[in-house]
């Protein structure tokens, strides 16, 4: 006997079939899935299927003291955790009227750019792997590890640094730290020709990426796409330059753009950005020793710290795009509401669905990685 609410499943015609792309799939970042409907090897419809990484951070934050949340925020985007920490701290500082000491601001910029390089190396690796090239993936992850070594030395943690705190940072630089940063930068810079040979000037990769997942500038703006994905459509918008935070207005760097809006353009923008990050870090390493002073503004006892009634929206440029925190305080010792404007949430759900529709099945993973989707941040 069938239950009353039984509905017969409507099966597609035999030449159309549905494929579960993910959640456990080498072509997917994190635990994320696309249900794609195929006609032959062409995608006729796609449905993003997230939620596997939903940990309810925004809700969890409402139950924790302002300062306890610093341990949660880096988990929102695992490959690029520093912007999460910094952006949350900026929000609390804005609410509480805290003046971040200059040294802390420079240290934050150093972390932000190191994190950007690490995130881009990770994405290059993944992006290459989606076209069948696994060597750049191993390289990317091995080179990223050198940056994680730097983070470990600075903060005691390789991925979840929990190093930024409202008011500044939690520890000063270890002895000789900038020298080791500088050495790592030299090494990564020396590796760029290798990446070029194996990936960026590899005709296999270039041809696989060109013309795939095209997004026009108009579409990007309509859909709220930011970051490298927007800049790959020709719009040079970068929060670091157009709405500077910390000490970015004291630094020289370019905002790379490409016009084509396809996977290849997005990859090229990231490659150029990595070089700009190296350029920024060179300036930071040169300037930071001259900047003395405290590393944290005095903050009250975290167990008895009320922030004034109000709300604040702070944004930073993460490796994925514009990351923002909207934090509301009701005057209490915990956030009333925290909303994370994750850049991936904009381009990894509807935009991804749109771009893969009409593409071929073998390009689906390539499109996802070229957008630099970050499922933990989509789900939060």
């Amino acid at each position: 006997m069938r239950p009353e609410n039984y509905q017969a499943v409507s099966h597609p015609p035999s030449h159309e079939y549905e494929v579960f792309f993910g959640p456990n799939h080498p072509g997917i970042e994190g635990n994320y899935a696309l249900k794609v409907r195929l006609h032959g090897d062409e995608v006729t419809a796609a449905r993003a299927d997230g939620g596997y990484l939903h940990r309810g951070f925004e809700k969890l934050m409402e139950g924790r003291l302002w300062i306890q949340n610093i341990a949660l925020v880096p988990r929102i985007c695992v490959p690029d955790p520093v912007p999460m920490e910094v952006c949350y701290s900026l929000a609390i500082e804005a609410l509480g009227g805290l003046e971040v000491p200059e040294r802390a601001q420079w240290i934050r910029v150093m972390q932000l750019e190191l994190s950007r390089i690490a995130a881009h190396l990770f994405t290059f690796g993944g992006n290459a792997a989606t076209t069948g090239m696994y060597t750049p993936m191993f390289w990317g992850i091995a080179d990223r590890d050198l940056i994680l070594d730097l983070f470990e030395e600075l903060s005691g943690g390789r991925v979840y640094h929990i190093y930024n705190i409202p008011g500044g940072v939690r520890r000063d630089l270890p002895e000789g730290y900038l020298k080791r940063v500088s050495d790592t930068l030299d090494y990564i810079e020396s590796r760029l020709p290798d990446y070029d040979n194996l990936m960026f000037t590899n005709q296999v990769f270039v041809r696989r990426a060109t013309g795939v997942g095209i997004m026009t500038q108009e579409q990007a703006l309509d859909w709220g796409v930011t970051g490298p994905n927007l800049r790959a459509t020709g719009l040079p918008f970068d929060v670091r330059r157009d709405d500077p935070y910390l000490i970015y207005d004291q630094l020289e760097f370019d905002v790379p753009v490409e016009e084509a809006g396809d996977a290849w353009a997005r990859t090229l923008v990231r490659r150029a950005e990595l070089k700009q990050s190296l350029r920024i870090l060179r300036q930071v390493v040169a300037r930071l020793p001259e900047i003395d002073g405290p590393i944290r503004a005095p903050i009250p006892n975290p167990l008895a710290w009320n922030l004034p009634l109000g709300d604040v929206y702070t944004r930073v440029e993460s490796s994925k795009g514009e990351l923002a925190y909207y934090v509301v305080s009701n005057g209490g010792d915990k956030p009333w509401r925290v909303h994370v404007r994750g850049p991936s949430a904009m381009h990894a759900v509807q935009v991804l669905e749109h771009l893969v529709t009409g593409a071929r099945i073998e390009d689906v993973a390539q499109i996802m990685f070229s957008l630099d989707a970050c499922p933990p941040e989509v789900d939060r």
Binding site: R64, L65, I67, Q68, N69, I70, A71, L72, M133, T135, A142, D145, D149, E152, E153, L154, S155, G156, G157, Y160, I162, R170, R171, D172, P174, D194, D196, N197, L198, F200, T201, N202, Q203, V204, F205, V206, R207, D254, P256, V257, E258, E259, A260, W264, A265, L268, V269, R271, A272, P294, I295, R296, P298, I299, P300, N301, P302, L303, A304, W305
Partner: protein
Amino acid sequence: MSDIDYKQRGSLLNPLRSLGFFGRPPVTQPLEPRPASINYRGFHLNDWEKCVGCGTCQKVCDNAAISMVHIPDLPADPAKGVRPERPAIDYGRCCWCGLCVDICPTGALALSREYVHTCVDADLSSYFILPDSHGIHGQPYEKGWAKTADADLISLLREPMPELEPEQRIENFDEIVGGYDPQQALLEASRCVQCGMCHDACPTHMHAPQYIRAIWEGKLEEAVGWIYQTNPFAHICGRVCTRRCETACSIGHRGEPIAIRWLKRYAMDAIPHERVKQIAAAGRCETPSGQRVAIVGAGPAGLTCAFDLAKQGHAVTVFEALSQPGGMTRWGIPEYRLPYDRIDRDIDVIQSLGVEIRCNTRIGSDITLEELHQQYDAVLIALGLQMGRGTRIPGSDHPQVRRAVDLLRQATAGEEFGTPQSAVVIGGGNVAMDIARTLARLQRQRFGTAQVTITALEELSHFLADPVEIKEAHEEGITILPARGPREVVVEDGNLVGLATWRVTSIFDEQGRFSPTYDQEDAQIHTAEMVVEAIGQMSDTGLLGDELTERLAWNRGRLQVDSDGRTSEAWLWAAGDMVRGPDVVSAVADGHRVAASIHAALSAAKEQNP
């Protein structure tokens, strides 16, 4: 801009250049654990010598990974703020954020550079550990993430208290301490980590964490409610309490303890008196018990007991020999430390509950204890320590050799006792400071200058007086001579001319008994018109009457009482300084104790004999 042309199609040959990597060693990490970095956030280390079991780590832990575990073998010392508890970590919950390290008030916690722990299903409990300084596996791993001065989450410095400058206060009896303004009180209250060490250390176990939190939340009436739960001498203790809470405060291990006394004072001053009365009356039993209690002595112990018993519905009458109630808080403590209007307020609250206070009624002469025994269901004696002790050195029977408590009493009453142009005070406790500073003020008012010298047996670092008192006495131009023992009062032609002293070489003998020895080579004479003895007080037990004194049990000159304050006579209780020694808040605690005992006895009597 990109230096790769978008149009460039690349080359199929370019990747072949990477073939050279076949000749290079791989970057594969070795399998054995890599040494962690200097700031590594690994497993916890806890220095049990430093840890006091305050539980602040538990409060800041965002994953509820820390539980405080009672360790029976560890010493407990509530007076010093040491609890036999240590944090245990559940590594199934810990996220190694290190906030526990950064907030640890004592600096006992740190994270080590050890980061590998594996186990089979059978020892899953090994993820729940009680860290000590040896690490999770007893391996010699170094500290990683540890406390640094610039990253401390504890605010070590106290909000400064506005006080009168020495030149503003030396000629008058104006209150020195100005009190916090709302902003300062809020900031000071926000420093508290709510460990409760203060509560454990306080003789009357005041709910300090609760009222500090209420002050921080701006709920001052709630704060007053918490204060009155355990202490009806709220204004008085907000000003002159010996504040054992602050000695025990866990913030005090590395910084300045929370100004708990000043916060209490702030809350009390901020609420209108009429409202305080309403708050204090909360929980009063509205049905009279029909039983009557007589209390002798309107000091902190007697009035606290009266407060409790009145709230429980008993009819309480307090007999006071002097003209106004308050006991030593009024007649012993100078007005610049404790203004009389604050004493009046505390007493008014107690009276508002129906307590009757009969002043100018001396037991023994106006009414006898035996009469009280006949007329009342229970009697409490809380006589206090009203009589000064004498040094009994040669010449101390001279009329210009006075006792500090007598002078302080006369100063409070506004009586003329012949302020001397110069005086020497013998004693190093708070009473000595009180009389020295009172005399200096009176001298300045009368003669324009002050000349008061304090001589005490102890070294300055061992003075019994509060260090603040010593500092302020210095500021007010009082000469303090430590380690001087009184030899004789120098009298010439019947006039007192000074005090001769020797330098003290030791105060106690080998058995620890009081037996001062002097260096007789080092003798001095301090010229003065008056010598004041401030070396301790005793109780005037003569008013008990010979017959009762004979019946009662005594222990080395002190009235013997059981743990509830009951004497060997079933109808008679004793409390306060005469039992516990001089201390306001201990007297308050004692008042509660005997009140509970009296109430239990009265209730039992009523049940037997309804």
